[in-house]
Amino acid sequence: MSGNNYEKMWQELGLDVNLHNEVLNYINKCFQNTVGKQKNRPKTMEYFDSVLHESHGGRVAELIEEKSKGKKIVGFFCIYVPEEIIMALDLVPIALCGGTNFSVPYAEKMLPRDICPLVKSTLGLAFSKTCPYAPIKSLAVGETTCDAKKKVWDILAQKVNFHIMELPQKKNVIDANLWENEIHLFAENLEKLAEKKLNPSVLKEKIEIMNNKRKVLQRLAKLRLKEPTPISGLDTLVVMQAALNDEPVRFTKKVEELCDELEDRIKKGISPFSDKAKRIMVSGCPSVMGNWKIHSLIETSGGAVVVDETCTGVKYFKDLVDTKANDVDGLLGAIADRYLKLNCSCFTPNNDRLDMARNLAKEGNVKGVVQYILQYCHTYNIEAIRIEGALKQDNMPSLKIVTDYSEEDTAQLRTRIEAFLETLK
């Protein structure tokens, strides 16, 4: 995230350049202390590191370039927002979320303190003139998952052009119908923004692009499960964070290259861990860019994260969109089906997520599960009780950790994680 060559661009975007430099330095420091400290990383990771480093520089320049060609930028905050529809209208989707502690105090100026750090960080970025995406996007898309987000949208909507998708909280037929309807409303609103209509063959083509991206991430997830694992959980997380920011076709190609390298490492028996490292699954809240805390803590305490049951993990790529249909309605229906399967903790009852967690832990042959909960995220925190219970049926030990983006509790967290790893057989 370097380069003074971007300073002019940031100035033109109306950013607070000094404060923005501080943000970049802060993120760089976090990166150096976690991702950068790892040994024996795959060579191909250089690309994904650069995606993160360029997320405020080169990527922004790219988007400005797209904009000059008449494309509009659509920001989203949650993996329930179908990127393929955005792309099919020649719009560019980009994830807008905050994983750093830096912007939290800015949000706390207006928000109550007891809101999850993800929401605070995101809102803080938007309001502190440090998010380069804020000025370039034409539309932001929120969804009604948790209460914190739902209410923050109302605040953001005063500032930017905003669309809210209503996500149902149950998964019965009536809920599925509501969701499909929301997908249609979303598409209509985007059509207005793009000033064109959805075309079935273009939509299908974009679905394929997204499906290919999902397939390659599935391939990566499989390779990661090999024993010994050829890649750290922290590095896989970096790939997932890049997935939400990078241009999808280029990204897919780069993940293929990474997978090829990993296959080679598997043949040669190369792993970033010693064979004593305990295989771990991380479950719970997403770790968006800037947030490397828990993976880093686990993997420097004797664990190896080989599965992530999170939105920055399996959820993002586990299901494909069916491409049988040949008309827009049929394809939108298939998209609705796919996205409803994501199993966010805002659903009730959420037995699908319990089953998913059990299956993933088994498939991953993990020794234990760390439930990573962001402070004040009530849905994940409360559901942790049921996840723990579900895992117990398979005698799978789990440790629940509730934390935020700050550093002050790392000594205690390290003790708890190490002690948990010590108890795993």
């Binding site: 861990f273 004797g302 509790d409 003790t415 010590e422």
Partner: protein, 256 residues
């Protein structure tokens, strides 16, 4: 073989030397603001074949002495089990942290630990003793002379301190305030303890177990609890035993 354990806590450094399953030397000293210097002093004339470090300063030992480390949780479980082979639960209240550990055949089966909040830890006791003008050594015995007549509402260390200051200003008896404070800490500790469904026998270890009032109040809640003669050294002892068993003697670096 002579093995040793060192437990570097936020308040004190504990050192135990073990020979043939017998403690033949131990030492407790303040951590101070220069822990490395203190560690050096402690280790200066000591002779042992193997050393294992624990406590929140264990990484200091790992970095500076290339010493294998274990968590306080495992160390306390091992140390308590050494003294009381039939114990099933260990409550360890130290300077910064409170832990409740379940033991099954000598191994950690499950544990709870407080988050960053200092309520219910030695730190809370220390701040309150100071506010009331007691030496920490006398705090418990003095509290036992009071009556539990004043409700203390704040669990948070900072708020409780101002609450205590206004109670003093109101002319309340110091001993009564002291006892009430102990009750409030016990309530906090008990939420953590009950979440773990403690099983007999229960060992109470860590620096706070030297406080007579805390011991009495915990006994009231939990029935018989066992308090080792030197509750502070259980962690260091555990580390020394682990060094002797030689199990998984390796640094975290090697574990990775």
């Amino acid at each position: 073989m002579v093995t040793a354990g060192i437990d570097i806590g936020s308040r004190t450094i504990k050192f135990v030397c073990l020979n043939d399953n017998k403690i033949f030397d131990y030492q407790i000293t303040d951590t101070t603001v220069e822990p490395l210097k203190k560690i050096e002093e402690v280790l200066k004339d000591k002779k042992f074949d193997q050393l294992v470090a624990t406590g929140y300063g264990r990484y200091l030992m790992q970095e500076n002495y290339n010493c294998p480390i274990v968590t306080e949780i495992k160390a306390y479980a091992t140390g308590a089990y050494f003294f009381y082979p039939d114990c099933r639960t260990v409550i360890d209240i130290g300077g910064q942290d409170t832990k409740v550990i379940k033991i099954k055949s000598g191994e950690v089966a499950d544990f709870e630990m407080n988050d960053r909040c200092a309520a219910g830890t030695g730190k809370f006791l220390e701040v309150m003793a100071q506010t009331l003008g007691y030496k920490i050594e006398d705090f418990g015995t003095e509290a036992l002379k009071g009556s539990n007549s004043i409700p203390i509402n704040s669990m948070c260390t900072v708020f409780a301190e101002s609450e205590v200051i206004s109670l003093i200003a109101r002319g309340e008896d110091k001993k009564d305030i002291a006892l009430s404070l102990h009750h409030s800490i016990i309530n906090r500790v008990m939420t953590m303890v009950s979440r773990m469904n403690p099983e007999q026998k229960i060992v109470f270890a860590g620096g706070v177990a030297k406080n007579k009032c805390m011991v009495q109040l915990l006994k009231k809640k939990l029935g018989n609890i066992l308090v080792p003669e030197e509750p502070q050294i259980i962690g260091a002892l555990g580390a020394a035993i682990i060094a002797a068993k030689n199990f998984e003697i390796m640094t975290i670096k090697e574990r990775r």
